[in-house]
């Protein structure tokens, strides 16, 4: 995500805001995102105007604590969140893109004449084989931003943009994150098929006694089990940054949600390991609903420390997923299948589910990945403890 367009202010100058309050709605490649404030205080000035497109990290408003801070809005810095002392509401979070701006691998720098180009624009230009010298910049001080490169790409290879313009943007966002992941992350994969008949039966029994609003889906069980396993295998839970792997104190499970009409988002629930299964389900339900109505919060898109991608309750047996950077692991859960299964001395038709963990070899090895999958298996064997 490179920039966002302000569509709505939810506060006015003079309003008091608390940390975490939603103050604005910004339209991005991934749909409308609610912008939260990371400061408490009083809104003294709105710097951004409705309809204005802002680079990620640009100050949007000034917040005071009663005294005038007089802080000048800094010129927007690419993909940089304002430091807290700026006391401003940040533009949409840089999302998973930020660490890629200084990749560990040395890369051929573009010519000096293209110095005023955003990292995302450079990357896109490099991938498309476009010389930045030919691109006219529309960003601050004539800087070349991603949209300029895309416009140039559009000219080079005329593509008919589909009627739903958001769809195309969404595909671009998915493509950018996944290409980067495959380019930078040395993936390895470990799979494990576990018997899920007992957990499914347990769940059916639980749900039979519950009204629809309180029923739990098998998907929520996998998310909770993945969180418990991530607690045990810290090497899979965190972010890979410029300084290397930073394990996360909290377990925030990202959930891949496919949007009707195309595209994916992966917002995350925080502290899943500490939540009850009912709370995990309620959280997922709320997040899916908001993802589809285009009202996710910026923090939900960036806080994930490990992602779960599920094929659902009907469908293909297994999937090998692509890690969502800067995370280091992604668990793909296949649709449960009825298969011959050895039970005691015999073979019976049982429901089984195949789990495939994609992990970052810079950070961990097969041993940890295996331990993670076995930990999930253990959780699923004792669903009443989830």
């Amino acid at each position: 995500m490179e920039a966002g367009t302000l569509v709505e202010w939810l506060v006015n100058p003079g309003d008091t805001v608390a940390r975490g309050d939603v103050v604005a709605v910004v339209e991005t490649q991934k749909g409308a995102i609610e912008i939260e404030v990371f400061e408490a205080g009083t809104v003294t000035e709105l710097l951004a105007e409705i309809g204005q497109t802002l680079p990620v990290g640009a100050p949007m408003a000034r917040i005071g604590d009663g005294e005038e801070t007089g802080a000048e809005p800094k010129p927007p810095e690419e993909e940089t969140r304002p430091a807290p002392k700026e006391r401003s509401a940040p533009a949409p979070p840089a999302e998973a893109e930020a660490p890629s701006e200084k990749p560990a691998q040395p890369r051929q720098e573009p010519p000096a004449s293209a110095a005023g180009a955003s990292p995302a624009a450079r990357r896109a230009a490099q991938e498309a084989g476009i010389d930045l010298v030919q691109v006219k910049g529309s960003g601050p001080q004539g800087a070349i931003v991603l949209a300029d490169v895309e416009a140039q790409m559009g000219q080079a290879t005329p593509t008919s943009r589909p009627a739903g313009e958001g769809l195309s943007d969404m595909r671009q966002a998915v493509a950018a994150a996944m290409s980067r992941s495959k380019r930078e992350i040395p993936h390895f994969y470990v799979s494990h098929t576990v018997e899920t008949q007992p957990v499914s039966e347990w769940l059916a029994q639980q749900n039979a006694e519950r009204p629809p609003a309180e029923r739990i889906l098998l998907g929520a069980v996998f998310v909770k089990a993945a969180a418990m396993a991530a607690r045990q295998v810290a090497a899979l839970n965190g972010h890979f940054t410029e300084g290397g792997f930073v394990p996360s104190e909290t377990v925030n499970i990202g959930m891949v949600i496919s949007l009707r009409g195309g595209g994916l988002v992966a917002p995350a629930l925080a502290d899943v390991d500490k939540m009850s299964l009912s709370d995990v389900m309620a959280g997922l339900r709320d997040m899916v609903t908001r993802a589809r109505s285009g009202r996710l919060r910026g923090s939900e898109l960036t806080r994930g420390t490990l992602t779960v991608s599920s094929l659902g309750e009907d469908g293909a047996e297994d999937m090998t997923g692509v890690i969502f950077p800067p995370q280091v692991a992604l668990l793909a859960v296949g649709a449960p299948q009825i298969r011959p299964w050895v039970t005691g001395a015999g073979v019976e038709p049982r429901q089984v589910t195949t789990l495939v963990l994609s992990a970052d070899h810079r950070v961990c090895d097969g041993r940890q990945a295996s331990r993670f999958l076995v930990a999930i298996q253990d959780c699923l064997a004792r669903p009443e403890e989830l």
């Binding site: 749900n207 629809p212 098998l218 009907d314």
Partner: protein, 84 residues
């Protein structure tokens, strides 16, 4: 309540769960998952909405009974006729 009425309510709630589905274009035999691409969360939301609207709590074991608008309108009308 007639099947025509339960059909209309079913399609209305379906449209609320999946706003891109135009009730006018849904065929009576369209399958919720295979043809209309609903996932398990959508189905649960639909069942929850029908429970709130009609007071009919559809158990998971009956989900097959509402897998097409035709089956669902018949099922809902039948359930509504049942004594509490």
């Amino acid at each position: 309540m007639t099947e025509t009425e339960t059909r209309a309510i079913f399609l209305e709630e379906l449209n609320r769960v999946a706003p891109d589905i135009d009730p006018a274009t849904v065929r009576d035999t369209d399958h919720l998952q295979d043809d209309l691409d609903l996932d398990s969360m959508d189905i649960l939301n639909l069942v929850t909405a029908l429970h709130a609207r009609l007071g009919v709590s559809i158990p998971e074991s009956d989900y097959k009974e509402i897998e097409t608008p035709r089956k669902a309108s018949g099922y809902l009308a039948r359930r509504l006729r049942e004594p509490e």
